[in-house]
């Protein structure tokens, strides 16, 4: 639903002004068209989504690595938050949301040059909309780091993240939410199943393959050092995801409320799905599994959260929990890549499950579009197009970027540095 506001964000203030006339009773000093309730919720959502990356993803990921890489893993999320923020205001936001055609935005909002304190985006200030969207760009890049943990050079990570945000994230965000090609096709992606999750998951897979496996992979004990951090991280992701999904309504209304409810339901169901599968197959339900199951559910409900009801959410959750369990445990082993922290298995696979099931369970009365179960099988196909476009574009550009960086400054630290751990070798620090 975000694209509606994106359109408005193209400077179409006059159009809003009309609607704002309805708000005749607003206090005199208020901006025209501004709804303080919607604004309050979007300010909050922005904080929640930022929290998902720092400390959310930082904790979720750093808990799964060995002790010698914990700080370096946190550093990745932290520095990405900084880097992507700056790139977003300089270029990213403009390429994604400043009007434009099917493929990319315009240069109108470079350096936010037209954004004033009064600029509106629907019923909220544009500054809030811009920052809210920034937090999505941040987390998408941060998620990728799970695949390259324990071995990527810090400089290479910065280059990759910077280029990827501008060349991959911004265009795909435009396609789906900026009025671009996928929204034109009717692809449903409420809060970022394709833009955020399939996108980061595919980039992660490519990166894991191009980087190669960690030294000692399959031989040495690489058990997570602090699953506790991972549980805290998953918890903060869960809480923050209310801002991610319900915030994607860009309003504090029934759509946001329903998104909140289905997010909770699908996540809970995915935890139970993963626990059941793991209990059955590995005999013990692990805490890491519960945390991972929650993220799988959150990922899968993301594209669906504005379109399905509680029943659909329940199914999406259970299915995502079980399928992602299979992807992270069996599929990964079969294919043999070393996606250290299962970004592909959770985010790409969970995102695809969610995108397709959105086409199945969409309820017209909720999001305006019926799905397969309401007699609109075409929507599943439409969803498939969205998935495929994202996979192909993201896969190809990510590959080119990674090969280019490998050929120039190199992607990996030396084996010696990898053995010593990135905390010491890249950052000169260590956990006591």
């Amino acid at each position: 639903m975000k694209q509606r506001f994106a359109n408005i964000a193209r400077g179409a203030l006059p159009a809003v002004a009309g609607a704002a006339a309805l708000l005749a009773a607003a206090p005199a000093f208020a901006q025209e068209g501004l709804d303080t309730g919607d604004t309050a919720w979007m300010l909050t959502s922005t904080a929640l989504v930022l929290m998902m990356t720092v400390p959310g993803v930082a904790l979720f990921y750093s808990g799964m690595v060995r002790k010698k890489n914990i700080l370096a893993t946190m550093a990745q999320s932290f520095v990405i938050t900084a880097l992507v923020s700056v790139l977003w205001i300089v270029i990213g936001y403009s390429f994604a949301f400043a009007g434009g055609g099917d493929w990319i935005g315009t240069a109108d909002a470079l350096l936010l040059r037209n954004m004033t304190v009064d600029s509106m985006s629907g019923t909220i200030p544009e500054s809030v909309f811009m920052t809210f969207q920034m937090t999505f760009a941040i987390i998408t890049s941060a998620l990728i780091t799970g695949a390259v943990a324990d071995r990527m050079k810090f400089s290479a990570l910065l280059w990759f993240t910077g280029l990827w945000t501008v060349l991959v994230y911004a265009p795909i965000a435009h396609w789906v939410w900026g009025g671009g090609v996928l929204s034109g096709l009717g692809v449903l992606d409420f809060a970022g199943g394709t833009v955020v999750h399939i996108n980061s998951g595919i980039a992660a897979l490519v990166a894991a393959v191009v980087l190669g496996r960690r030294v000692g992979f399959g031989k040495e004990n690489m058990a997570p050092f602090n699953v506790g951090y991972t549980v805290i991280g998953a918890s903060l992701l869960w809480v923050g995801w209310f801002g991610f999904n319900a915030g994607s309504a860009v309003a504090a209304n029934g759509a946001a409320g329903m998104a909140l409810a289905v997010t909770q339901i699908a996540t809970a169901a995915a935890v139970l799905g993963w626990v059941a599968a793991e209990w059955f197959i590995h005999k013990k339900p692990s805490v890491l599994g519960m945390a991972t199951g929650a993220v799988a559910g959150l990922v899968a409900i993301t594209p669906a959260s504005g379109f399905v009801g509680p029943g659909g959410a329940l199914f999406i959750g259970v299915i995502a929990g079980i399928v992602c369990f299979w992807a992270a445990t069996s599929l990964k082993k079969m294919l043999g890549y070393d996606d250290s922290l299962d970004v592909f298995g959770i985010h790409a696979v969970g995102g695809i499950v969610g995108a397709l099931l959105t086409g199945v369970f969409a309820v017209e009365a909720i999001g305006g579009t019926p799905g397969l179960l309401e007699g609109n099988p075409g929507q599943v196909l439409t969803q498939l197009w969205g998935v495929l476009a994202t996979i192909v574009y993201c896969g190809v550009v990510s590959l080119v970027l990674l090969l280019g960086i490998r050929a120039t400054i190199g992607l990996r630290v030396s084996e010696e540095d990898e053995r010593a751990g990135l905390d010491i070798s890249l950052h000169g620090e260590s956990l006591g």
Partner: protein, 112 residues
């Protein structure tokens, strides 16, 4: 002097300490170790990756004593550390040539 070094189950530490105290031992030093032996470790599975953890957490006790106490000390440790279950641990004894108390410079059995 002898050093009696024992590997025991962690939760037995207090009992062992008390039995040694009762014998008049004046000090002991404990380290956290991991042991491999008849008692097997366990398997941990993290998202499908299985890791064999072959080592079991144990405590290593070192107590230096006058020669004549050796037998009693060994027996005291055995008695207090035993659960009768596999993995109860071992006691090893070796000779100590010299000892000194850092604070006072006393040496030999006086230092203990």
């Amino acid at each position: 002097m002898k050093c009696v070094m024992a590997v025991i189950k962690p939760f037995k530490l207090d009992e062992v300490r008390e039995s040694l105290l009762a014998l008049g031992a004046s000090g002991l030093t404990v380290s956290e170790v991991r042991g491999f032996g008849r008692q097997k470790g366990h398997t941990e599975i993290y998202r499908g990756a299985e890791y064999e953890v072959s080592f079991v957490p144990k405590l290593k006790i070192e107590v230096v004593i006058a020669d004549e106490l050796e037998e009693q000390v060994v027996e005291a440790i055995r008695a207090s550390a035993s659960t009768g279950q596999i993995g109860d641990g071992k006691i090893f004894v070796f000779g100590i040539d010299a000892a000194m108390r850092i604070r006072t410079g006393e040496s030999g059995a006086e230092a203990l």
